[in-house]
Symmetry: none
Subunit: 211 residues, 4 copies
Amino acid sequence: MPRLLPSDTPPSRSAEFLDPEVHRRLEAAVLDVFSQSDFHRANIRTIAKMAGISFTTIYRHYGSKEGLLFSFVNDWLRGLTERMADHLQGIEDLKEKLRKFFWVQLDYYERNPGVGRIIFMTVPITTWMGDKTFAQDKMIHLFLDTLRQGQAAGVLNSRVRAGVLVDIFNGMVQRTFFMWVYRGQNESLAAQANVLFEMLWRAIENPERPA
Amino acid sequence: MPRLLPSDTPPSRSAEFLDPEVHRRLEAAVLDVFSQSDFHRANIRTIAKMAGISFTTIYRHYGSKEGLLFSFVNDWLRGLTERMADHLQGIEDLKEKLRKFFWVQLDYYERNPGVGRIIFMTVPITTWMGDKTFAQDKMIHLFLDTLRQGQAAGVLNSRVRAGVLVDIFNGMVQRTFFMWVYRGQNESLAAQANVLFEMLWRAIENPERPA
Amino acid sequence: MPRLLPSDTPPSRSAEFLDPEVHRRLEAAVLDVFSQSDFHRANIRTIAKMAGISFTTIYRHYGSKEGLLFSFVNDWLRGLTERMADHLQGIEDLKEKLRKFFWVQLDYYERNPGVGRIIFMTVPITTWMGDKTFAQDKMIHLFLDTLRQGQAAGVLNSRVRAGVLVDIFNGMVQRTFFMWVYRGQNESLAAQANVLFEMLWRAIENPERPA
Amino acid sequence: MPRLLPSDTPPSRSAEFLDPEVHRRLEAAVLDVFSQSDFHRANIRTIAKMAGISFTTIYRHYGSKEGLLFSFVNDWLRGLTERMADHLQGIEDLKEKLRKFFWVQLDYYERNPGVGRIIFMTVPITTWMGDKTFAQDKMIHLFLDTLRQGQAAGVLNSRVRAGVLVDIFNGMVQRTFFMWVYRGQNESLAAQANVLFEMLWRAIENPERPA
DNA sequence: CATGAATGAGGTTTCATTCAT
DNA sequence: GATGAATGAAACCTCATTCAT
């Protein structure tokens, strides 16, 4: 069964030696605090107290407030990426692949709204740009390859770079998640995946392709 | 000719009585500092020095760091909204209207990349949610009405709420702007408007409509 | 009839040209604010508002917060001095003179507790030392002469400088006033004058004098 | 030998955990700054610099400018009280007890003129009234009891409350100290104790007592 | 190693005082 | 001359980060 919860994945970076139980408590605290308050309002001492450790310990393991957040976000996104890879297995059809790609993301953020809030809402994008691993997002690269193949095969619109197709996808994920939160998280997010994906698909498919 | 530069629009809030020249310098400083650094790194004292005024004066007029930023962003967005209204005049065709809507935004942010950086990149979305005027964005409401009419007329996809169409539009604007900056602001942003809009259009148009 | 109320005396310094009615309101405000709060907590803007004038006007007339206070305290003390001179007239006996001297002060501060609070309680002594007129207190000089005559005549203790006798007198006035306020201003201050003065008298009279 | 210098007594309040050496430097700085300038002119940052610590540390330990001053004044006065208790031991005669009481104070303030300046000159009395420990001055209470016993025994004037006798004493101490400073701290203050005390004694002794 | 104390930066607030109208 | 805006200083407060034990 695929990994869903962040704590199922081992910590990255220097956190290797943090006691697993402590690591779990710290993760919960990070998720809670950073998802509830803007990055600059989030207080490391509060996080430390919630995790039952001293804030100095956090510093020794993660170096800085950003380091702490980046480490956990990487864990979380790795979890998402692994699940994505797992889900994409055995799907041959490009459209179905992309549909799945879209659905897995919405489903993940619906199950982990705190993670979504952190990535899309409480932390400014420029902060992510300071994270080296941000640019190396494996998921994106896998996705890009798929899209390029689709363009080469004439299925997808090839008038634009594949990156643009990614942008459309991601813009949709981000905006959809944000508005879902903004409007109160009422309906299911994943349940909207199909109708949204169909629109997305029409956006990126090759308009000249013979139907 | 339409208003393009932020300073062309009168200040909002309590800034009414700030000397126009000082207001212009302050605007330049706010634009500079907030677009270069994350919100929490932006330093009010630096802004005051750049604007050649005392930082107490800023506080008396704007009340807080957020107040300062919100005030100018409101000015800027009002400028964008006015320009938008100006440009949309006389366009009857729905598709052309939406195309214009998309283009004006990309063009605006290309000309005012600092404003775009502030709105989309350096300030977390949750901070904007604290701004009362954020939700009252007139531009969005105008846009929503147009989209609803399009749905009613069977031109646009009516399986989703009009809000979703807005989300797709805005997600595209935001993501496109961000990636444009991220990739170095090389090509013209507005120049991509048409090809991107065509994709957008296919995403939102009514798929069952007889062609 | 002797001058009792501060406003009966004309303003000093540069305040000559302040409208008499404004001057009266300003005096009331100064008395109120400086007697209720420590010097550094007293707020010039509050005073100005209470007096119905702009704080800038105060600055033009009095130059500074200290200048404002000094000016009125001088007016008030001049009133006390004049009344003192008035009362001492026609008293030949040294002891009766000193008794009167003591009584007039207690009586004055009982009637003008705000003035007493300002002089003895809310303003640090060092602040008074910055007031040129402080050292030139005419009342003290008149008093000193009287005491010196008493020493020369063998009536008062001449083992100490006359200044010391003044200190004992003033220390008693100040401490008595302060404790009267501290204990709630219950009994009459002037009513205690006689019993206190008798003690004072025994302190300063020449112990070797044949009874 | 009795404790004389302020730093010989342990710190009060939250300062328990301040490094002793730092505490000593801070005490010196507080003594210096607050004795030279009026309370409202005293600058915490200057004090911090002089003490070689960060001004945040001062705030964490003392909470406010007043808290800082109150803490040290309490230390100092505790030192005086202890020395007083030490000196009064073994004195049976009331007059000698009071003489000692007077002398110890003058001697203390002569050795610690900065403390005297702070208590009597640079800080307004009303500020002390905000200090809870001000009213609980143990020294005063010890003294009061002694005076009451003297009144009961018919040695001291019992026409006035014992509190009045304290007032006379304290008024004399305060005024004597102030004028000593005002006149340039030339002669020894303690050396004047005896002649002043004899005057004081005549003021408070029972005038009807058979000699 | 883990911890709490100290630090420095900077947001916020209040005011006496000065500037410009 | 009278006024309000602007200034600069400093108290106050919080926090990320570093230091020392």
